[in-house]
Symmetry: C2
Subunit: 345 residues, 2 copies
Amino acid sequence: MDADMERPTLDEVARLAGVSKATASKVLNHRRYVSEDTRRRVEEAIGRLGYVPTTGPRDAASLRAVNVVFDTLANVYSAQVLSGIVGAARAQDVEVLVDALDPAAGDAGGPLSASWIRRLATHGRAGVIVVTAELTAGQRAQMRAAGLSVVVIDPLNPLDDEVVSVGSTNFAGGLQATRHLLDLGHRRIAYAGGVSVSAPSRERLQGYLSALSDAGVAADPGLVLEQGFSFRAGREMAATLFARERPPTAIFAGSDASALGVLEAARRQGLRIPDDLSVVGFDDTYSAFTTAPPLTTVRQPIEDMGRVALRTLLQQARGERPDSHHIQLATQLVVRESTTAPRPE
Amino acid sequence: MDADMERPTLDEVARLAGVSKATASKVLNHRRYVSEDTRRRVEEAIGRLGYVPTTGPRDAASLRAVNVVFDTLANVYSAQVLSGIVGAARAQDVEVLVDALDPAAGDAGGPLSASWIRRLATHGRAGVIVVTAELTAGQRAQMRAAGLSVVVIDPLNPLDDEVVSVGSTNFAGGLQATRHLLDLGHRRIAYAGGVSVSAPSRERLQGYLSALSDAGVAADPGLVLEQGFSFRAGREMAATLFARERPPTAIFAGSDASALGVLEAARRQGLRIPDDLSVVGFDDTYSAFTTAPPLTTVRQPIEDMGRVALRTLLQQARGERPDSHHIQLATQLVVRESTTAPRPE
DNA sequence: TCTTATTTCCGAAAAAGTTTCTGATATTTG
DNA sequence: CAAATATCAGAAACTTTTTCGGAAATAAGA
């Protein structure tokens, strides 16, 4: 192949496939009345020449759409991330396509599958934002090969330094939450976090441990549980903690959803919030201030994370180096009504 | 409107505007070097002729993407609708693009604007699903002219019979909720609903009134408030009701979000749920069973509504007549722990 | 088996749209 | 105030899609 940098035209594809450009056009647009054989020859020629159609917005301007893949859409967190992404996308005049992983369906053609990645590339997508989902090294490599940029938000699995991720200062958040409880006078503080492979959860735990250590409080391994970020996990962890010989006077939950689970477990146990038990959440989703009582929680700027992820993705797609491989946005403690001083013994 | 008018071409637009088609093309693609005056003339001509660009794939075979427009993404309801849509889209092998209305930004190029609609048509979208947002007759007409199908979910404004809408059996839901409270022995039951222009809210109110009437209970106008479906609206309506001379023993809230507001107002008032006050919500979003106590609510099959909306949209786009212009999915009462018999007087 | 329709298939030419380039004005700048 | 630069519109060139006519294949009758 000569160093012809010119973009191949449909005519060249047609010539290579031995058909007219009218027929090549039909193949490209999935029209009827093209024999299977002809179709295959044209497809082959398209692949060989690396032909990309030039209809509509051209050049770099054609990278005007991104895909977002969610682990699940079934929670407020996802909605808020998406809200941030869509807002930023509107400002940058790019379109947002949404996919959700379906654990039921296999990976046949679904999000993050090989054929899905190829399709994105041929459709001129700028890249993919992966939200709270797992991204394997293989998937990462396929995307790179296809020329797709990737940004990950709160990844479920640890990733090499090549992939850009956006998160928040989880360590600081864990520190803030735990210090708040210590300042109120609590000493038996539990951590009810996500599964231990989750990097954000681990970092929050480290912050928790660090705060305890700073305050000269010995950490009790019996008060650290890591079953998940879900409502159900929170409820179950709280039930376990209430059954301890000396139950905690405060629980730091790894997410708002699990904090809600703690609240429900407390209600079942007949504990009043915050008098009998202080609870701190994490995220500050919309559900944090719609609980009774409103939840003290560590605020992650979730919508900002979406915005930053989109902007970073577009930067990458334009070939600019991102400012950093791991972008952390600041967390902030929001004190509401689910925490107070422990009862005097 | 003439049915088989030839579609106007760019040349005709150019002629009407008194420019060359090259210049008209520039306007269409937002390119530089077009004077404001010329741009306006061309835009005017485009509007007058109802021109829609025809570049790119545009036949039925390629209608493999739909746009979804949300009033806001900032709640669980939107997330669940989207979840249903994305699931069905995956099954049908179509892609989903998400937009959110931004009240801050004007309508310059934003979702539902004229240029937005044109762009969708150019990009071969099958149509648009509008979720809990307002759709004007003008927007509807532009979409029809551009050959885009439309399906509306829980519309904010009343619509003519031409546009297909998907909702749930709101009247029956109102009936179910109110009967449940009546069966428990309540007689002073309040309705804390959405604003009265909202068709779903009105229908729920009618169900409420009908149930009361069936039971021979006189409706007290002082117990009917219609301030909105939001958390805040729910909290404020509840506060108002608690201040009544004879406060209600049960509140039927128009949505789960407003039911959460009622819960919070009750907590502030020192009322225990369900002993001092029974609360019924509407929607059965994820937030309904993550409250303390879990909420008795009228289940709308929200994800199914998304699924049905997508399928109906694709049917329409294929030129098939939809089964019905207004599709209502069945509601179902889900009894949890926020309702019980009223205290004996 | 031999017409006669019908459907499939392909390409030449026409149609539709975008980009380049050229020339004419305006607007800035040293 | 001349030179450089930016803006603007249209003719021509170019890319892609669609139409349409005819060839080949397939189905249907008699």
